[in-house]
């Protein structure tokens, strides 16, 4: 298998697996990455000099068109639900992996990926729609901060999908027995983190007016 199979079975000072420790360390670091993006968003809230705005209406002076608050709460609530369910799905996939239940592993891991893909699809649709409504990266502070924060979150989701997809392929090829369940556990931790960041983003950006 991979070289890290060797690392996995080396005795460690704490008895904990070094790779699991590494992903948690990385996640800790990522907290500061998203904190910086979130801080910027919060600092610039309500400071845009022109619309479109997240929650209030805006009259476009160029053509007199009224653009309502651009955030679509029902759609985003649905995406949030889907992403949360995908976290649930990967937990079940890991449960199956650890017990050697191949069907459960492959089924729920596939479901996780479908959930992630739906979420990303929702993001792509949302971004496209916003651009059509006149909100771009360079339109105003809201555009700059919103697209950067949610865009990088989406980037993280994409990386997560590629990672989970790779694990899924190894599972389908029968190369994910219970002894190697840690491979999925580490990918799942990353996935949960991405979900947890979305929990924060959904509240701070979408729900707080």
């Amino acid at each position: 298998m991979s070289q890290d199979a060797h690392a996995m079975h080396m005795p460690t000072t704490t008895g904990l697996d070094s790779r699991k420790m590494a992903i948690w360390t990385f996640i800790g670091s990522e907290c500061l990455f998203f904190a910086s993006l979130i801080s910027t968003y919060m600092v610039y809230r309500g400071k845009s000099l022109t619309g479109p705005y997240p929650h209030e209406s805006w009259t476009n002076p160029a053509n007199g068109e009224v653009v309502k608050g651009i955030l679509n709460i029902p759609l985003t609530s649905f995406s949030t639900f889907v992403l949360l369910m995908s976290s649930f799905a990967v937990v079940l996939a890991l449960y199956g992996a650890q017990r050697g239940k191949r069907g459960m592993l492959i089924g729920w891991l596939s479901a996780t990926m479908v959930g992630g893909a739906i979420f990303l699809g929702g993001q792509v649709y949302e971004f496209n729609h916003f651009v059509h409504e006149g909100l771009t990266l360079h339109q105003n502070l809201f555009g700059s901060t919103f697209f950067t924060l949610t865009g990088f979150h989406g980037g993280h989701v994409t990386v997560g999908l590629i990672w989970l997809g790779t694990v899924l392929v190894t599972a389908i090829r029968g190369k994910l027995p219970p002894e190697k369940a840690l491979n999925l556990e580490i990918a799942a931790l990353y996935w949960h983190f991405v979900d947890v960041i979305w929990i924060i983003i959904f509240t701070l950006i979408y729900l707080i007016k």
Partner: protein
């Protein structure tokens, strides 16, 4: 030609010499040497940049350098010294010494370790290639927006800076994860946390700072790049953006960064003083906790770099108090160092000279630093040479002196040769005199009003004599560097091998041959105290015999790998796409990156 019986080591598939063995190495000791050699070269380049600056400033109204060239040189001098010299020289010591001092055979993730080095090299080369285009970064090492936004910096200079720094950040983050896990998880039997050498403790705290601080500058750089490339409004006043946000984000990173620069130095000095005083470190626990406290508080002082930006009296007061507070744990360390030397049997060898000078120079830098902590005083000092004096005393008098002490101390272990004591002392005195002559006068010209970051000054303001002295001092420093280089070259060619334990050391690295064999320890040692080697020697009633070379044939070491280098090439290529503005470059880079990552992940074990 006689035939020879090949033993296991010779039939082993991997070559130990030659370029390819260095390109694919995952051995922490080799990676350490790569870091050190590269960083030393960059250090000399940074020094050359400083010399050119000093020539320009040696006379009033000088025309040796144009204002534009001056800006590029002082920007690159700062960026180079911080990111391409001090940090990677510290990385050399992390790499070489941490596994040895904790009783491990390598770091937790050897290929990730190699990756970190190659990404560092790529970043360093990338940012320096800008010189070939006469477009070196020119907006200071701190890149204040909105000077660095497109309208005010239309050329590629700032793009080189942003991308270069981003690349270096990736190297640092990867290495930080690696060393953090290594120190927690790969300690040998008996190596409890409160028995670790102080260098390992300070390095450990440094990794935590790296992990928490670098993401912040990563975001700041992303936002600046977006302003430049995608016309976002982060620092664009016309769109409602606030340039002060850059300063806050930069310094939330920047202040922990200066502790990243000094903590390893503290650790090295805490290793050297006990050995050359023949006394254990005074107040071990206090040293650990003060180091941790400094790091923790270091996240609460950043806006002391911004006292002149109109934050208001509440913010000013808060950061003034937190900054004054951080002097306390630092003071604790200084008293503990003095307590270590007090009553000891002082061995005045070159490492000790540099370590003792460190204490004095760092105290001086700390005193001017505490003066900055008062906002009203700082309004007078900020943007003058008084600040330049302060940070050179802590970064050169502090970090560089300590890293140099470490070089003399650990050179025998790393290369199996002793550095010349005589040349070492010449190096020391030239460096000490040159350093003080260069930077002491800056306190005075600074308080007399000479502004920093300006390419010249008029005559008749009383700056001429001191600036001339500073320039002379800089040349004395340069000569001291030449002496050091000569010492290195001569010593490497010296046929006399160094013993395993030339200094009567206390820690594990001195128990193995100089230089160590690939697997470090023939048998992983069990430790029972903080000074395991002194304990062993005491029990024996005398020095240890020279350790025998072991065959190591039953010890399995990680295989070398080509993929960390490929992945690093993928990283730099992807980021270069943003410099040149051709998405195809990004795509090619991403393809190389993915190839590297997947090949790395699925590489078969040996």
């Amino acid at each position: 030609m006689a035939t020879t019986v090949l033993d296991h080591a010779e039939t082993h598939a991997h070559a130990k010499t030659g370029l390819w063995s260095w390109i694919t190495t995952v051995d922490h000791k080799r990676i350490g040497i790569l870091y050190g050699a590269t960083a030393f070269l960059f250090f000399l380049i940074g020094g050359l940049e400083a010399l050119l600056l000093r020539i320009q400033l040696g006379s009033p109204n000088n025309t040796f350098l144009s204002p534009e060239t001056y800006n590029q040189l002082f920007t690159m001098h700062g960026t180079t010294m911080i990111f391409l010299a001090v940090m990677p020289i510290s990385a050399m010591y992390f790499n070489f010494m941490i596994p040895l001092q904790i009783g491990a055979r390598d770091v937790a993730f050897p290929r990730l370790n190699a990756f970190s080095y190659w990404v560092f090299l790529a970043g360093g080369l990338f940012i320096n290639i800008s010189f070939l285009f006469h477009a070196a970064p020119n907006a200071g090492w701190f890149g204040y927006a909105n000077l660095t936004t497109k309208p005010y910096s239309p050329g590629p200079n700032v793009d080189f800076w942003v991308i270069g720094l981003q690349t270096l950040g990736i190297a640092s983050l990867a290495a930080a994860v690696n060393f953090f896990v290594t120190i927690i998880n790969l300690r040998g039997p008996g190596m409890k946390l409160m028995r670790m050498p102080m260098f390992v403790w300070m390095s450990f705290i440094t990794q935590i700072l790296l992990l928490l601080a670098f993401p912040v500058i990563t975001v700041a750089l992303i936002m600046l790049m977006f302003d430049r490339v995608f016309h976002t409004m982060f620092f664009t006043v016309a769109g409602g953006g606030d340039p002060q946000l850059w300063q806050h984000l930069f310094w939330v990173f920047g202040h922990p960064e200066v502790y990243i620069l000094i903590l390893p130095a503290f650790g090295i000095v805490s290793e050297i003083l006990p050995v050359f005083s023949r006394k254990p470190l005074f107040g071990y626990a206090a040293m650990v906790f003060s180091g941790a406290f400094i790091a923790f508080l270091g996240f609460g002082v950043w806006a002391h770099h911004m006292f002149a930006t109109g934050m208001g009296p509440i913010a000013d007061s808060f950061f003034a108090i937190s900054t004054m507070l951080i002097a306390v744990p630092t003071g604790v360390k200084i008293f503990n160092w003095i307590g270590t030397i007090w009553g000891g049997s002082i061995q005045l060898k070159t490492p000790m000279y540099f370590a003792l000078a460190f204490i004095a120079m760092f105290i001086m830098g700390g005193l001017s630093g505490v003066m900055h902590a008062s906002p009203p005083a700082d309004l007078q000092q900020t943007d003058t040479y008084f600040v330049v004096a302060h940070f050179h005393y802590v970064l050169f008098g502090g970090s560089i002196f300590a890293l140099t002490a470490g070089a003399y101390y650990w050179f025998p272990k790393m290369f199996g040769k002793m550095l010349s004591e005589k040349l070492g002392k010449v190096h020391f005195w030239l460096m000490l005199i040159g350093f003080n002559l260069t930077f002491m006068p800056m306190h005075f010209v600074g308080l007399n009003g000479m502004p920093r970051r300006v390419y010249t000054y008029p005559a008749g303001l009383g700056f001429e004599l001191l600036n001339r002295l500073e320039t002379i001092g800089a040349f004395i420093l340069a000569i001291s560097m030449l002496v050091f280089v000569y010492n290195l070259w001569r010593s490497l060619r010296n046929p006399v091998p160094a013993p395993a334990d030339p200094w009567n050391g206390a820690t594990l690295e001195w128990s193995i041959p100089s230089p160590p064999q690939e697997f470090n320890f023939a048998e992983i040692p069990t430790v029972h105290s903080r000074d395991p080697l002194w304990e062993t020697k005491r029990a024996r009633g005398g020095p240890l015999p020279e350790p025998a070379l072991a065959s190591g044939k039953d010890i399995h070491m990680p295989n070398p790998s080509f993929w960390p280098l490929v992945t690093a090439i993928g990283v730099i290529t992807t980021l270069t796409g943003f410099l040149v503005g051709f998405p195809y470059v990004n795509l090619v880079g991403a393809a190389i990156l993915l190839t590297g990552i997947f090949s790395w992940a699925f590489e078969p074990a040996g």
